[in-house]
Amino acid sequence: MADVSLRKVIKRYDDVEAVRGIDLDIADHEFIVLVGPSGCGKSTTLRMIAGLEDISDGDIMIGGDVVNDVPPKDRDIAMVFQNYALYPHMTVAENMSFGLRLKHYPKAEIKARVTEAARLLDITDLIDRKPKQLSGGQRQRVAMGRAIVRNPKVFLFDEPLSNLDAKLRVQMRIEIKKVHQKVRTTTVYVTHDQVEAMTLADRVVVMNKGRIEQIGTPNELYHKPATRFVAGFIGSPAMNFIPCRLEDVAGKLQIRLTDRIAFALPPARAARYNALPRNDKLVLGIRPEHLTESHAHLEPGIETFDTVLDVTEPMGMETLVYFGLEGTPVCGRVNPNAGATDGAPMRLAMDLNNMHLLNEETGAVL
C-alpha cells in the first residue's frame, strides 16, 4: 500500500512530447482512472509509473521514494495488460505464482496466496488449466490474480477490458470494483472508455494531447467540467455545443441561440454571466438529458422552443431525438411516450439551470 506522486513528468520520443509535464498525487487506497482518446499519453504515463518506459524529465514517487531509475521488478507494483500477457506454457497456478517463485517465497506461502486469490476471483476450478483453455473473461481474472498474489504497493491496469465483449466488460467492471473494495490496494487504471472511468474511479484524470485536462470525482467531471474537451468527452451521448451570444433585453440578461430562439437566463446564471462582454463568441453547453419534451408545469429556468426533428432513436427507456439549430446538430433525450417521430415538429424544453457557457476560442468553461 502506498501513495503515488508524479512531479512534472515529461516523456519525449525524439522530437515529439507524448507526455507534457504531468503533476498528479494519488492517495493510498485510491482508485484513479486515467482516461482520454488514443494518443493522449495515458498509457505512456502508466508505463512510466511501471518503469517500462524511462521518463525524460520530472520525478515519479511511490510510497515517498523517487523511483525514476528503479527497475520495474523493484518498484513493488503489479500490472494487468490489455491482452493479459499470460505465459502460455504455464498453468493458471504457475502463472499466478511466477513472481513469488522468482523471489523464492516458501512453497506453503505461495500455495496459500494463490489459493486465496483464486477464491477471491472465483477461478479455483481453473487452477490447473493452461491459458489457451480459458475464455477471455477467465484469462482476465487470471491476469488479475497474478497481480493480487504479489500483494504489491500499486496495481496498474492498462485497458484491461478492451479485448472483452460488451456484456463481459460490464461484468468484469463490477468484478474489478469488488476486488478493489476487498484488497484496497492503490490502483491506477487506464482506459479510453469514459463509462469505465466514471463507474470505477474514486477520481478520474482526463488527459488530452499529453496534458491533464481535469482531475475530479466522476460527478465533478460530469457536472462541473473545466474545459470543452472534458465536457464533450464525459457523458454519452455527448454534451451539445451550440454557438450563442449574450444580450440585454429590458434590463434582463438573455442568451440568443438563433434569430428565432433566445431565452432569459435564470437569476443565478444571470448573476454569474453578467460580467461577461456582450459581443464575445460563446458556446452553450447543454447535455441531452436537459433537452426534454415540454409539458404543462415547467419549473423556473426551463424554457421551451419549437423545432423539427431529423431523426429519432428509440432506446426503450428513453428516445434520443436529433435536430439542427442553424446547422448545429443537437441531441435531446425525451420520454418514449412523448410522441417523437422522424421529421415531425416537436416542442422541447431546455433546462437552463444546468447549462454551461464556454469561451469559443479558449474552450474554457465560464
Binding site: A50, G51, L52, P71, P72, K73, I77, A78, M79, F81, Q82, N83, A85, L86, Y87, P88, H89, F98, G99, L102, K103, K130, K132, R146, R150
Partner: protein, 312 residues
C-alpha cells in the same frame, strides 16, 4: 473450406440428378475429393522418393556385379569393416557438434540482431545470410584455399603469433574441426533466420510482465523466450540434423573423406564405395543406414512438437 463445398454440393444434388452416375457419387465423398486433390503430390513423392528408396533397398541386396541376390550379405559385410564404424562415429560427431554450434550461434546472433533497431536490422540480416545463399560448393572452395597448409591466410596469420603451420586438412583432429567449422559457417544463418522469426513472434508484453514479475535477463530467456520458441527450436534442430547428417559437398570438396577416411560421412563414403569403387550395392547399403538413425531422431523430436502444439 473443402468440407463446406462438398456438403453443399451433396444437398443440391439430392433433388435432381441422382441417376447420373457413380462417378458423381464417388466425387461426393470427402476422402475421394481429397485424394484427387493431393494426387499430383502423391505421384511426385512416389516418383522421387518411394521409387528410389525401394530401388536402393533392392540394390543393396545384390552382389558387386549386380548379378546375384545375396540377401543381407552386404550388411553383414559392412558390420565387419572398421571403416564403417568409424563413419558411423564421425557422422554422429559431425552432425551433433555442428548442429549444437549452429543452434547456439544462431540463437545468440538472433538476439543481437533482434535488438538492432529498424532499418539497420535489415542490413545486418541481409549480410548475415550471405554464407547461406552462396552455393556451398563455391564457398567450400574458398575455405579450401584458406586451409591450405603452405600458402593459406590462416597459417600466414598464425605465423605472426608463432603458431603453426597447422596441417588443417592433413591431421585427423584438424580435418574434423575444419569440416565442422565450414558446416557451422554455412548453416548458422538458417538458425539465425528461424530464431529471429520466432523471437519476433513473442509478444513484448510477456517480457514486460516478466520484468514486473521480477525476472532478470537470464530468467526472461529461460522462462519466456525458450518456452515460446521450443517448437521452432525442435523443428529447426531436426531439420538441420537431417541435412547435416546427410552432408556431402563440404566433406567431398575439403577432404574427400581423408585423412585415412577419418572425415567420411555416410554420403561421402557411400559415394566413394558405390561410385568410385564401383560397388553400387554396397554404396546403397551404406546410404540406407542413415534412415533408421534419422527416423529415431525425428520421432523423438516431433513427438514433443505435437504434444506442445496443443498448449501454445
Amino acid at each position: 473450406m473443402a468440407d463446406v463445398v462438398v456438403q453443399q454440393g451433396r444437398v443440391a444434388r439430392t433433388s435432381g440428378t441422382r441417376k447420373r452416375g457413380s462417378l458423381r457419387n464417388a466425387l461426393g465423398h470427402k476422402s475421394t475429393v481429397a485424394f484427387f486433390l493431393t494426387l499430383p503430390l502423391i505421384l511426385l513423392i512416389v516418383l522421387l522418393v518411394l521409387y528410389p528408396a525401394f530401388y536402393s533397398v533392392y540394390l543393396a541386396t545384390l552382389n558387386k556385379a549386380m548379378t546375384k541376390f545375396v540377401g543381407l550379405g552386404n550388411f553383414t559385410f559392412l558390420f565387419k569393416r572398421e571403416t564403417f564404424w568409424m563413419v558411423v562415429k564421425q557422422s554422429c560427431i559431425f552432425a551433433i557438434t555442428a548442429v549444437v554450434f549452429k543452434a547456439l550461434i544462431g540463437f545468440i546472433v538472433a538476439h543481437f540482431v533482434h535488438n538492432i533497431p529498424g532499418k539497420k536490422q535489415r542490413k545486418w540480416r541481409g549480410m548475415l545470410l550471405v554464407p547461406w545463399v552462396i552455393p556451398p560448393a563455391m564457398s567450400t572452395l574458398a575455405w579450401l584455399w584458406l586451409f591450405d597448409p603452405s600458402y593459406s591466410a590462416f597459417n600466414y596469420t598464425l605465423s605472426f603469433f608463432g603458431v603453426g603451420p597447422i596441417p588443417w586438412l592433413g591431421d585427423t583432429f584438424w580435418a574434423r574441426f575444419a569440416v565442422i567449422l565450414v558446416n557451422v559457417w554455412y548453416g548458422a544463418p538458417f538458425f539465425l533466420i528461424m530464431y529471429l522469426a520466432a523471437l519476433k513472434s513473442v509478444p513484448d508484453q510477456l517480457y514486460e510482465a516478466a520484468a514486473i514479475d521480477g525476472a532478470n535477463w537470464w530468467q526472461r530467456i529461460w522462462y519466456v523466450t525458450l518456452p515460446m520458441m521450443r517448437n521452432i527450436i525442435a523443428i529447426t534442430t531436426l531439420f538441420s540434423l537431417i541435412v547435416t547428417f546427410a552432408n556431402f559437398d563440404i566433406v567431398r570438396i575439403l577432404t574427400s573423406g581423408g585423412p585415412l577416411d577419418t572425415t567420411h560421412l555416410f554420403a561421402t563414403w557411400a559415394f566413394q564405395v558405390g561410385i568410385q569403387s564401383s560397388d553400387i550395392p554396397l554404396g546403397a547399403c551404406v546410404s540406407l543406414f542413415m534412415v533408421p538413425i534419422l527416423a529415431v531422431a525425428a520421432i523423438f523430436i516431433l513427438r514433443d512438437v505435437t504434444k506442445r502444439g496443443n498448449e501454445a
